[in-house]
Symmetry: C2
Subunit: 320 residues, 2 copies
């Protein structure tokens, strides 16, 4: 279930736009009004607001928000205002350009989403960057490869990433139990082996249907703690986790962001909350409570502050 | 331009279905009626006929045609009656299962079609075979690989094919001339080198937009006669030719089928004519005449016979 408390569709978009315009006026911004409005509108409503703002004030609302707001709050609002596929295209692009340690975001996006949703992200990527997503992924991983000069695992890393991005998985529920067993063994071997032959593991993970992969990952315990000696192994691990149970995966991303102090913790919180507030954030929050015996919203209230905290809690359905 | 002479949309589908039903009745089939009707209906009309036949006679028209007709004529009619994306899914599936020397059909399909059309083929493949196209391509090329034990080129072959099948190319017209030049050099090297590093060539050919690849293949003369020492090189060559100028490619396929006697020549003729009769078969025929100084229809009339010949010539817009 979603956590977003969106108001009814009968709301007046024109009134919203007028109120936002007023909130931007004069010195300083009436941030509370901005959060009160945009933190309670669903994706369709936000797109209508963007269009109405353009019609009424000949301005780009997203750009205006960027100039009115700042820091992590601005970043979160920017992501929130984009349509889901466009947002994921931006997140993927940022991850690709930030280098190897951000590639898990890319793996996460294409492994969590449905085949059709991944396709929409690829279309949005075309529109925005005038290249294909797989083109940028391949170009960047190849670049890294030369730099790091760990040839075989470098190739494997590139093939896995490009394969995950390019996959258009069959969406049916048919399962081949025998195949699941042999696939599981191959994936298991690949996770254990530093210098193994990973071609088969890549083939399995980038071409099988999700239902089949789910049967595969239950056929053996894939998500046990492996040492993950390379970026390839990390990507393989992330993909398996996202495909097997992305609620659990997101719960872990949030837990890490809450408990580990670092400059990029807001990035993770924002990504999960903004992506999931209109989908199944409530389920992720319940899982978080079940596993950690603390409420996610309490942790966020404790760890963060200011407008950013206000906005994230609003998206989590917790008024303050 | 198309060669199919489809009758106007005001035609009575019910009359068509009745006439086909009559043509099937009794001993033998009234083949001329079957050709007269189905050889003059466009894709939408044929689908309506299939549906109306089912409603009226509770039967599967395609299966009925298979039992009424035989040989290469039956095969051509079967392909003709399928919707374009479904037909290409079938052609791809047959090619994959017939082994390495038929892979050019797969490369041809995914290289000639637009990104959206390839996607439709992948969807049709899901519906029909309950697996993804890339899954079957990867599984079969891997199988061959073990058998032939030419490891590196085997991997390259698999990566190229899976990459071509999975590509969702950017469809815009922007061109980077500098990139085209360096890409052309890499592709050139790869075509020349038997044991080279083909990773970069694969990356270029499977991720760039068609406009960019077109600029690339004009930047250097890619289609000159290379020795093509391996299946990898053959696939690379076919993909470049199909992307650069598929009219010319098809003209060559037809010429080979006409001039080289072999059991599979009808396969090639059928594939090109059935796929292109509603699209741009006229342009391909004109090119054929320009390059060979003989009319394709005259060659087909000379080389083939019977109902097969009648049907193909009908699709080429040549009544007999």
């Amino acid at each position: 279930m979603a956590t977003l408390n969106a108001i009814s569709d009968k709301t007046s978009i024109a009134q919203d736009v007028e109120a936002l315009h007023l909130a931007f006026k004069g010195l300083g911004t009436d941030v509370n009004t901005v959060i009160r409005i945009l933190g309670h509108r669903n994706s369709d409503q936000r797109q209508l607001i963007i269009r109405a703002y353009k019609d009424l004030f000949q301005g780009d609302l997203i750009k205006r928000l960027e100039s009115e707001l700042s820091g992590e709050f601005e970043k979160a609002m920017y992501r929130w205002m984009l349509e889901p596929a466009d947002r994921d295209a931006v997140l993927a692009h940022v991850a690709i350009n930030q280098g190897r340690k951000h590639y898990h975001v890319l793996v996460e996006i294409v492994s969590v989403l449905s085949p059709e949703e991944v396709l929409n992200v690829r279309c949005a990527y075309h529109d925005r960057y005038k290249r294909s997503l797989e083109e940028d992924v391949a170009a960047h991983t190849t670049g890294d490869l030369r730099q790091f000069d760990i040839l075989k695992l470098g190739f494997d890393f590139e093939h896995l990433l490009v394969g995950l991005v390019s996959a258009f998985r069959y969406g049916g529920n048919e399962i081949n139990a025998k195949l699941a067993k042999t696939d599981a063994e191959i994936l298991h071997e690949s996770m254990k082996e530093k210098n193994g032959n990973h071609e088969e593991a890549i083939r399995i993970l980038t071409t099988r249907s999700k239902a089949q992969l789910l049967a595969t990952s239950t056929a053996t315990e894939m998500i046990i703690a492996y040492p993950l000696p390379s970026d390839f192994h990390k990507a393989l691990h992330t993909a398996i986790r996202c495909i097997s149970d992305y609620h659990k995966y997101y719960e872990k991303v949030l837990l890490n962001a809450i408990t580990r102090i670092g400059i990029e913790r807001e990035d993770a919180i924002t990504r999960v909350v903004v992506s999931r507030a209109e989908k199944n954030m409530k389920d992720i929050m319940e899982l978080y409570y079940k596993r950690n015996s603390v409420h996610l919203e309490d942790e966020i209230a404790k760890e963060f502050h200011g407008d950013y905290k206000k906005f994230i809690l609003t998206l989590l359905g917790k008024e303050i």
